[in-house]
């Protein structure tokens, strides 16, 4: 019996609307030209976490070519639940046709809620409890108007369907680590619209410490080195952090390039590293090894090593690539942005 879980389908979704970081800078009088990214993806006025998750999940099912009724679990990792009480997972499972014999839950762990669901899904299928399990990471992230986070907090997500490794899976997982501590770098209390963060504390003791620790542990347990990987994807809160953490761990710019999307779409929180992973799978070839390392405030990092299989070549078309989703875009100004994101309150 195989001891490895594989991915049989994946899909990403990025809304078409973009706001340029310079437009946000203009609004708040930040005239020195220093902005953390170029532009970010903004959910349309009729979009939210659930609609983004459904679109990504539908692409994943089409790519997997499976009957959605065979999906035994639908987990939605997010911090943008449209309802405080009522699972997003039920709406997603209903919309994709996975109900009623399905386990659903919303996973909460800031930006690593999606990869948190990876662990559960892989264990479900390896235990033989179900044939397929779906993990989704998606967000419509909110930044307080005028806060640094407003430049990067973006919308988007990706869905992955796990099953036991076989010749039908397009990649399999050969190692997984979760590294977690209580680190209060970012939080949102109940009934608050916007999160708070501990300024520069979000870097060294939070993002860098957790990702470096999870990846080093993965390397130790698998015996792999950075040069064994064709690609690496790190959580992308801005354009700078993933490049810096890659260097600290001994990865090159070429290894992270296909999955480094934050300069163009921003930080879609639980969707951030997963959309980057989907974009990397879009260009990967059989036998390529991919490192995926998420980071979630609060804090923790999940690190995975995936090996791409031959089936990837059959699973590219006609599902739109992440690159093509990024290239379909419409620019909006700040006033349209505040209307879309519900920041105008009567």
């Amino acid at each position: 019996m195989t001891k490895e879980a594989g991915i049989i389908g994946y899909g990403a979704y990025i809304p078409i609307y973009r706001i340029k970081a310079q437009e946000i800078a203009r609004m708040w009088g930040n005239n020195n030209g220093h902005v953390p990214i170029m532009e970010k993806a903004v959910a349309g006025i009729d979009e939210d976490l659930v609609t983004i998750a459904v679109e990504a999940a539908k692409y994943a099912i089409r790519r997997a070519k499976i009957d959605p009724r065979e999906i035994g679990a639908v987990y939605v990792g997010t911090e943008s639940k449209p309802y405080a009480v009522k699972p997003s997972g039920t709406i997603v499972a209903e919309a994709i046709g996975a109900t009623p014999l399905v386990v659903t839950a919303d996973f909460e762990f800031a930006c690593k809620a999606g990869t948190e669901a990876f662990h559960a899904c892989m264990d479900h299928v390896l235990a033989g409890r179900m044939k397929y399990a779906m993990a989704i990471g998606a967000d419509t992230a909110q930044g307080r108007p005028g806060d640094q986070l407003e430049y990067t907090a973006a919308s988007g997500g990706a869905a992955f369907i796990f099953t036991k490794k076989s010749d039908k899976t397009l990649a399999y997982c050969e190692g997984a680590v979760s590294f977690v501590t209580d680190t209060p770098d970012f939080w949102r209390r109940a009934h608050e619209h916007y999160p708070m963060h501990a300024e520069r504390f979000t870097g060294k003791p939070a993002y860098f410490h957790h990702i470096v620790s999870s990846v080093k542990t993965l390397m130790e347990t698998t015996g792999l080195r950075p040069s064994d990987f064709k690609y690496a994807v790190f959580h992308q809160p801005n354009a700078k952090f993933p490049v810096k953490v890659a260097k600290m761990l001994g990865f090159t710019l070429d290894q992270i390039k296909p999955g480094l999307l934050s300069p163009e779409i921003g930080n879609c929180y639980a969707g951030s590293s997963l959309v980057g992973f989907a974009a990397t799978l879009d260009v990967a070839n059989p036998d390529d090894r991919i490192l995926l390392a998420s980071y979630g405030s609060g804090a923790g990092s999940d690190a995975f090593s995936f090996v791409v299989q031959d089936t990837i070549l059959e699973k590219r078309n006609p599902i739109p690539s992440v690159r093509s989703l990024i290239s379909e875009r419409k620019y909006i100004d700040y006033s349209m942005y505040v209307k879309f994101r519900g920041k105008i309150r009567a």
Binding site: I16, G44, I45, D46, E47, D48, V50, T51, V54, E55, K58, P82, Y83, I91, E94, A95, G97, E328, K330, K339
Partner: protein
Amino acid sequence: MSVPRHWREIPKRYRLIGSKCSNCGRTYFPPRNVCRECGTTKLEEVKLSETGRIITWSVVHEPPRGFERYVPYVIAIVELDDGTRLMSQITDCEPEELQIGTRVHAVFRKIREEGESGIIYYGYKFKPIK
């Protein structure tokens, strides 16, 4: 719309479930109990195509209650690739981008919300295929 009515209509609103006459093969959306063509009551549920083209459209500037945030928005008659015609909002586009015959595909979107505390009604809309 009431919560129970929304709940009853979830399969068709979420997944485009229509009905198909087992006698003459005609498909309907929303689903019907009696075939308009041949009068038979032998209709079964069918998953409709998620792609199609615009037959005609109109721009709504004076919306019914609950749709104020979305104006101006486009309502169109879409002919699906399986021949079924239905009414739908067209999203992610400006009215001037549309033409009769524009290819569209189904997307899952918020249709409207009962204020800040009420239920969120989700369902299908269509958007142009680029």
